[in-house]
């Protein structure tokens, strides 16, 4: 049975065999650099796993898998410029290693490369996958825009927030699964069901991320915790806390958000204490669990041999109990 580790390995190998043109170096080297930085390869693995529900020839879905991974990396290149992020996966980001111009243009090239890769699907499947892919690409941009808009607002409500993370994160996981199913020739209703499964999984993933950024063991999490708190990021936890109606806590939170000078450790500890008092970490986990449950339910209802569902099932449960 195809495991998640198998998937990551297959993707890594396929990315190494992309054979980008050697020239112009300034355009293709940054693309190659970010694609070789590694990572969990979650999105392309979901495409392969969705295909593997229907066929042993799941590598049919490789063009779709690579397209979403390359597209995801395009968004990372451009987002890192916008967020002024200097480090990704322990290495310099593209705009830091080269410069902003190189990151803008090589990001564009990565996006075009993702379409090129998708086009390796047979025509009929490409036509279907293209529609999902292109709609999703635009939604991801919308999500990034909302995320930036939210930075300057204190009145973001939970629904808006859920809508934003759906666009910014979930739809690409959803599209990965639907396109994997399309590539494998799955029935149309299964393609749509797998979109929904991926969407729920994406929501759970992001909500867990919000939780882990505050409460995880930072060594296991692989990055310092509290980053969202220091950046006043509108997360599920912060919005839920601001909506709690607990006047003292809300005022204290607002004070920390507005404070320009502070000791980072003190701020993280203080906000964390408020979150604990209000129980918003548990709220985020409960919300995540309900999305995970939805994923499981959709998986259960698919009419494919149970044997074929094992890896996805394990992956979904892992999501629920993940510490990193």
């Amino acid at each position: 049975m195809l495991s998640f580790t198998d998937c990551s390995k297959l993707i890594d190998e396929a990315l190494q065999k992309l054979n980008l043109p050697a020239e112009p170096k300034g355009l293709y080297e940054p693309v190659d650099y970010i694609l070789q930085l590694g990572g969990k390869r979650l999105r392309p693995s979901l495409a392969l796993l969705a295909a593997a529900l229907y066929t042993d020839d799941y590598e049919q879905a490789m063009p779709a898998a690579l397209a979403v991974e390359i597209f995801h990396n395009f968004t990372l290149i451009h987002d890192d410029i916008m967020d002024k992020a200097d480090v990704r996966r322990g290495k310099a980001t593209v705009h830091k290693k080269w410069d902003d111009n190189a990151a803008i243009l090589s990001g564009d090239a990565a996006m075009i490369l993702s379409y090129e890769t998708l086009n390796k699907l047979p025509d009929a499947k490409f036509l279907n996958a293209f529609k999902v892919f292109n709609r999703t690409a635009m939604e991801v941009c919308e999500g990034q825009q909302y995320d930036m808009d939210f930075e300057n607002r204190l009145d973001v409500d939970l629904n808006e927030y859920l809508g934003m993370i759906r666009l910014k994160t979930s739809v690409l996981l959803a599209a990965s699964m639907q396109m994997g199913a399309i590539a494998a020739g799955a029935p149309e209703q299964d393609q749509l069901a797998l979109y929904e499964l991926g969407e729920s999984l994406g929501m759970a993933f992001q909500l867990q991320d919000d939780y882990l950024d505050v409460f995880s063991d930072s060594e296991k999490f692989g990055k310092a915790t509290g980053g969202d708190i220091l950046n006043n990021k509108k997360t599920y936890l912060l919005i839920k806390a601001l909506e709690s109606g607990e006047k003292t806590s809300v005022n204290e939170l607002k004070m920390w958000i507005e404070k320009k000078e502070f000791d980072p450790k003190e701020k993280v500890e203080a906000v964390k204490a408020i979150y604990k008092k209000l129980g918003v970490g548990e709220d985020a986990q409960l919300a995540a669990i309900s999305f995970v449950n939805n994923s499981i339910e959709i998986l259960n209802q698919l009419v494919v041999p149970n044997e074929r569902k094992k890896t996805l099932e394990a992956l979904i449960f892992k999501m629920m109990y993940r510490e990193t």
Copy 2:
């Protein structure tokens, strides 16, 4: 008969009817803004005119025409950030009116929108047009990269330069015509011939641009002349002059290129005088004319009623004698 003016008008109208989503404003307003800035609409008009060689229902080519125009505007948004250009068509550029982040993200959205628009072609035509479009998109990025690379080199030769402008400018005009022909159901060999016609036209267009930036009447040209000289831009004229072997002129040119402090007017006049002495303006025009001749020859050989060729013929001749 469909005129060039008809084409521009049809394109303007179609762009106004695009109906971009209202939200998120920060994403779609900049896209709408640049699309409404106007311009000659040369590329989409070429798509319609190529289609009109074969059918009175040339509006079949509108999805392809809009796709190239929107793609072209995506490149303008991102190039203007990279070139730190503040003004385009007399108005503020996107990154100037909003900011770099808005320009990066809305440029991305414009690119995705161009694919979305192309997808309005019927499936079989879309599949053919997509391959041309996507390859061209990557070539345009390569052209922009070479253009930036050339800024830091003094040893660019004419062949490299011609290769760069082919990628940066010509292939998009070429693709516009090929996709117009595809949309109209033209024979495959005509599709390829029209690609070549557009490519030659693009080369002539850029070489004329190099000439006009130095020698045109700046009022008619619509922008100050001498910009390329002030920016030490590697144009056909500069490269030809540096390759001339005329030691005194070459040394004088290099002196102006290296000089950090100078009176702009003095530099433009001095370099212009060298160009005049060496006759490189005429060289550029001769090169342009040979590309124009190639376009005319290809047009002549197409097996369609002569009547249908009139507008393209006029457009090509206008290119030869253009002052703006």
